[in-house]
Symmetry: C2
Subunit: 415 residues, 2 copies
DNA sequence: AGATTTAGTTTGCATCTCGGACAAAAGCTG
DNA sequence: CAGCTTTTGTCCGAGATGCAAACTAAATCT
């Protein structure tokens, strides 16, 4: 822990002010005073410095009449132009790149439908580099005007070191993606687990605003786990992001079994392949269609197909129950593509959680399903970079904006 | 997060200084300057205040000649008399009470061999109250001279609220032990999970000094889990301590199964009872003897007995593997009574961990077995209370003392 | 037009840390 | 033994910060 000096003091309070402005949209100095419990003097001084640095801008228009009387409030908001960041999401079949402004609004995005899981890390880095350059240029910016880049990908990532230890989309291990991209693009670059980014995006912009503890479970070809604990992204001892796919379902003497081998899309499709013969074409080549067919048949009453999905849901529910026992989060967000939306998957999942939790934790966690667009990932990557720019001194992820007032409901989503 | 003002600044730095003094034994101001990276001026000012408050004392004796030349260093150390705290540990068959000084040294302790698991919470509180009064008085102190009391007990504890949600030693649920004891004794009282206290004691005084991440798994009649993560005791979202016994071993569709029903001493003895007929007397009444007999027979080659232990070890290993996947701690401390010391238990445990971990985490965690005396629990309770007295401003558990210099190897232990 | 009300700023003061000068206390040197 | 050297610890002034209170600004109310 850093020792305290006036500079740290200022950094902490400046962060609080920035955070309040980000969370509560256009906001006046008095309101910042209330939210942060800082004195008006301090708020005034800090906002003056932020205005001076052009990180925030005043909004003189007295659009909403506050309270009739008195001097009108000058609303302050983040300056969207204060910085630009790039978010990149690597999925097995697609690279998504987006440029966002200082408010986390996406200015331009770009999708490269490439099956990167059969490419080497170098090729992937080439593709990412090209994508970033193009996306930045299409957004009307220069690379030199970009303050940071964050790449999200599934697997085990050591963010601090900028190394991807292992990922389903990379053949190699211990890939130093962070340093590589930073060198290629001449811009600060970081990497993180994709689900961590999604969790951060939910915290900043999404459903989990204002919630300091929740889990995000993402089911795609691999299984991702993002944990927000005490307002912070939770990481293992070395800054490692945990991989839900590595969770074991049984003791080795009872057959063992990784969760990824049961509950991922890949595993489900492999299990279901015998029942899909003739219905869907070549299962491995067109997983989307195969999955759609599987769900259709299961929901239509096909017992074999339903059982495959139920087994996956139940296994995942079992793992989630153990996580709830550990973290006691008020909310668990299950996301993914088509599969997680199906009752044939979710019902067994919920049942398994309910059956596995001890009585004392039976009602603490609300499990919700949420389908994400590509947007969320890159938004998370942007938020991660912005977090650094805001200068959080002790590493706290800024909390989240509750919807408030007119025009504040721009980024929310429904379950 | 609290906003920063000069007071917080001072609190942070004072804590760093206190922490350095605690960790590095008698230490001079220059050394504190080195350890904390504070300026000599600041260290001087803070130590002067601490001396003024009698929290630390100077040691003028130039015992060890430092470097021949120059003004000799004035060594500073915690004042043992600065405060006294009481630690209490509730186990199913015993209450242990101890009085410790400001350095965490146990001045006096007292054991009440009572099977509290068949008593009501009120009776237990009576017993604890009597024990504390007696122990304090036997230590030659007044209750008014005690700065705080901490009670450790197995189960799910919500420390912040002072409530024990559920415990194997309490018949009731949601027992507000903290407030109750505070009212009875007129002294600040807190409660925590016993394993959390053990983890804290290991961190302050024991094997895990200097280690900021480790797990403690305690096997007794119930299964406890203590997690030290980033130098802090890890708690769930509401400040709940997790209970390892509530971990599930399989999905409900595959039979479910709580870990506590397989790997606790109680469960092992229940499983082994048929094989112990005639060898040990009445198993439930004399669990210690029955366990000893079980281990003896297992190690002598009795297949049935060995299998019971192996199953418990393997199940626990499975759970530990999943925890390692999540936390990636460099060390896992398995503790308990006789059972955990037996190879018939530990070997299957290690094997299960090795078989369950993904390759990327194969070597991160060192699993050690440690047998504890009652001492560790009350020491942890003392440390927990001292931590508050030290005034850690942002809630950090003070780190740990590396062995250094003469006579510094008093509290270590071997695996 | 003046009172009232609310927002934000300026002023004065206390606290903190820090760098550099300074005092203290020992050994070394001749 | 007196003076030099070395190391430790303290004092002083500068710089930065936050806060309370007085003050200015800008609107509505009467």
């Amino acid at each position: 822990m850093k020792t305290a000096d006036p500079e740290l003091m200022r950094a902490i309070n400046r962060f609080h002010v920035m955070d309040a402005i980000r969370r509560f949209g256009p906001v006046s100095r008095v309101e910042i005073t209330e939210f942060t419990a800082l004195s008006p003097t301090t708020v005034s001084a800090i906002t003056a410095a932020l205005l001076d640095d052009r990180l925030i801008i005043p909004e003189h228009v007295g659009a909403v009449r506050d309270l009739g009387r008195g001097r009108p409030r000058v609303m302050l908001r983040l300056n969207p132009e204060a910085a630009h960041v790039v978010g990149v999401k690597l999925a097995s079949d697609q690279i998504t790149v987006a440029v966002a402004n200082f408010c986390g609004e996406i200015l331009h995005s770009l999708a490269l439908p490439v099956r990167i899981d059969r490419q080497t890390a170098t090729v992937i880095a080439d593709l990412v580099e090209d994508g970033v350059r193009r996306c930045v240029s299409d957004a009307g910016l220069e690379l030199s005007g970009v303050s940071g880049i964050c790449v999200g990908l599934p697997g085990v990532v050591e963010r601090a070191a900028g190394i991807c230890r292992q990922s389903p989309v990379l053949q190699e291990r211990d890939v130093p993606f962070g340093a590589d991209l930073a060198a290629r693009l001449g811009t600060p670059a970081s990497i993180d687990s994709d689900v961590n980014l999604a969790a951060l995006a939910e915290h900043w912009f999404g459903q989990a605003r204002g919630l300091n503890d929740f889990l995000v479970v993402n089911v795609e070809r691999s299984l991702g786990l993002g944990i927000l604990h005490n307002g912070e992204l939770f990481r293992g001892a070395n800054g490692l992001s945990p991989d839900l796919g590595d969770f074991m379902l049984r003791a080795p003497g009872e057959g063992g079994g990784r969760l990824a081998d049961v509950a991922s899309e890949t595993a489900v499709l492999a299990d279901a392949e015998p029942f899909l013969k003739g219905v869907a074409g070549d299962v491995p080549a067109r997983p989307d269609r195969a999955m759609a067919a599987l769900i259709r048949r299961a929901e239509a009453g096909d017992g074999d197909c339903a059982r495959v999905l139920a087994r996956a849901g139940e296994s995942l529910g079992f793992a989630i129950a153990n996580l709830i026992t550990l973290f006691a989060p008020p909310k668990v967000i299950v996301s993914g593509r088509a599969m997680t939306a199906s009752d044939c998957f979710i019902h067994p999942l919920r049942a398994a959680v309910a059956a596995s939790l001890p009585a004392s934790l039976a009602d603490v966690s609300d499990i919700v399903v949420r389908e994400w667009s590509d947007r969320i990932w890159v938004q998370g990557a942007a938020a991660m970079t912005l977090r650094d720019l805001y200068g959080a001194p002790w590493g706290t992820t800024g909390p989240a904006p509750p919807a408030r007032g007119i025009g504040a409901a721009q980024a929310g989503g429904s379950a």
